[in-house]
Symmetry: C2
Subunit: 480 residues, 2 copies
Amino acid sequence: MSNENVHLLFHPKSVAVIGASTTRLKGGYRILENLLTNGFPPEKIYPINPKGGNALGLSFFTSLTDITDPIDVAILFVPNKVIPGVLEQCIKTGIRGAIIQAAGFEEIGTRGFELRDQIREITDNFRKIRIVGPNCTGLTTIETNSSGFFSPFIKQYGYSRGKIGVISQSGMLNGGYLIYLCTKFPSVGFRYIASIGNKMDLTENDFLEYYLSDPTVGIVVCYLENFANARKFIDLCNYARTIGKSVYLLKGGISSLGMRAIKSHTGAIAENSNLIQGLINQSHISTASTFYEMFQYARTKSMVLKAKDFLPEEGKLALVTVSGGSGSVVADLVEKHSLKLPNLQESTYTQLANIYPEWMTPNRFALLDIWPAIEKAKGDSNDVHRKVIDIVLQDENVEGLMTTVFYVNEFPFDLDILYELHKKHRKPIFTWIFGDNNQIFPIIRQLRENNIPTFENLEEMVKNFKILCSSKSSKQKKHI
Amino acid sequence: MSNENVHLLFHPKSVAVIGASTTRLKGGYRILENLLTNGFPPEKIYPINPKGGNALGLSFFTSLTDITDPIDVAILFVPNKVIPGVLEQCIKTGIRGAIIQAAGFEEIGTRGFELRDQIREITDNFRKIRIVGPNCTGLTTIETNSSGFFSPFIKQYGYSRGKIGVISQSGMLNGGYLIYLCTKFPSVGFRYIASIGNKMDLTENDFLEYYLSDPTVGIVVCYLENFANARKFIDLCNYARTIGKSVYLLKGGISSLGMRAIKSHTGAIAENSNLIQGLINQSHISTASTFYEMFQYARTKSMVLKAKDFLPEEGKLALVTVSGGSGSVVADLVEKHSLKLPNLQESTYTQLANIYPEWMTPNRFALLDIWPAIEKAKGDSNDVHRKVIDIVLQDENVEGLMTTVFYVNEFPFDLDILYELHKKHRKPIFTWIFGDNNQIFPIIRQLRENNIPTFENLEEMVKNFKILCSSKSSKQKKHI
């Protein structure tokens, strides 16, 4: 039943903003501004403030009870103490969902627990109204490019709709960090962001279930400080895999120090580290150790999905490089992360040998330092790249490519080589890019727009390849 | 004795370029171009090509034997087969150092070994002439900003002189990747770069010894595929620590796959992984798993040295953050990397408690989510940052600060707070920055120019703090 409630919360037709403010930059003002900026119909926004007032062309109501129109969802931007009373009013008015921003509940101890118990009673254990939060930054729905925003703290910095759904116990992921992600990876689109805070009522499982049921979501990113119901989470993650959806998890509070931290943040109760690890293993999901890593995974996966590449099953990749040193380092990283540089098929080797000089034959395995071949081709690096990559990608043992791109305007690397061969072979192509940093900036953008992920750190490149495989290979294990 | 030879190679007064070319973009032309562009006196450059010719205002000699002036160093840009003959000529002319670019030695097997043995004989086991390479991209000396470049493959993309000395078995670090580093971190300066290739004669130990003896080098970065003399390397690294110099190592070929890779790259012979690890432990140096990580360490350390910060000894840091979720993640990472968020002194706690609201008191340990304090200060985030950071940095238990910087023009974070408190307390300040990616670009630059390292990935931030401590704490262990 929670799917229906979550759906209503993400797609309300009318919203009450309780604690609306007439003062610019204040939260209660910005929520109104966000709703308007992002195309929510003004006549369906009901600002409430006991003092009344006007802002952004909206007249404030002094009380919820003054409103006779039906309201789907209430956003509560009021202090914790008054929340129980406000919820009572919401229930009377027939509001079915409330987003509570205020902190000061489980994370502050006794007084917070009392407030929580009071709310449970008033809401008949959340049967009368569903709650997101408290201690959260609300929900965001992205309907089309640049519309549909529904988040309390930020307005429009530019974002695009995509397949990523976020569930987070850090409000930042629906605030400042979301701005960062949208401006850093403008081509990566989001669909929903749920800041769930202390998750007093609706939990990660409710949102995960909704995302899995919604065909517009393909990738789910979770930041969690504790598990509401571990068994359910495992089941949902395993179900996600069977329908080809990826879940990436960052778990805060996995160490004793981290557990002290989560207690003061979301009031989450410490969980045993071994249990957490066991749970993650049973979920067969990929975990990240930072926000950056988690969203990089989501970005990479979303690019590979957009390109409609064949997903690697066994983690067998080829490296084509102009730098032997990078080759050695990648080889170490490939082994560290349980991937493979497979042996090449005989026909592949024969074709490559023609391109290499006699004095330096290619490796028999998929690590190709092409510098000797470039010397043989009298420096025609682009021609060698085109030939070698084409030959390697048609090898059946090779499921994807990593390549080093050295870019300076003086020796321009021909990006079309990668675009053409990517389209031809439909295997993921990753690039590690270096050169003049000012010049590579637009190159990175171009590559990304063509669904070729770029990396500046070789280990990130290898780990991102790894996450493409994990779901498939786990699936295979299940069949055995 | 090798110090003298290495010094000559880094600071020659005259150079012969054997294999000089009149064709633009060819290596034998670019070496001349680099020397000239970077201020080497034209009259001290002796281009040699049997066909003669002219380029860049330089007349080519047809043979080394035509030159009567004394020549310090020869750069050999000729095929491997002719090297023995050329070296014989060099010895006759009294040249004391040769840089050999050509590949095709140990890494290609039998024929390469024969060439090596021939060279050993001709040079009387390198007594008659010292050799850098083969299979390398030569040496670079940076005398002042934008002069003194002496590398065969790149010219001037802009670089500045600093305290970093590089030793590398990957030519890229004296080529394309150096361009990347200099343009990505323009404020980070290099002093020397040595591409040592197969290190037939001069090895990492010769260059490391020279860097340790040279007061202009403070930080040494090594990419190695094997160890020429492990005992010597350990001794030098331990000596480095006693004189306050840092060594950062990236070792290629630590896995069985990596060992196959290095064999075809520099002909390095596989070393036992356990031995490598033992050696690294005995060296007490920090290791990296990618080029990016290694140079990030060097960058961070060079900024902390420039700022003349007190170096942390026990790894006790404080985190001041506007994001509780980041706090939880950092706490986990701090424990993972054996650092500490220490308990605060009583006086520190009392001062902080005044800034926090009654309903949400600060932690007793150095993890400070300042959001509640900002709410109490009616949103004056800058004021809260200034007060909290000042109080925390004066705590004797705290050796450095990590802080999250959220930056959008609408709510500008006052960077002066960090600059002032950094100067006042002289403890390292690291920042994790997020916000509008287009707006944070200049902010990152500003912070870096003020010796405050920035990070986009929380784990990188924590690991970079870790490397500041390792040298000191190892030193302490020694005293016990």
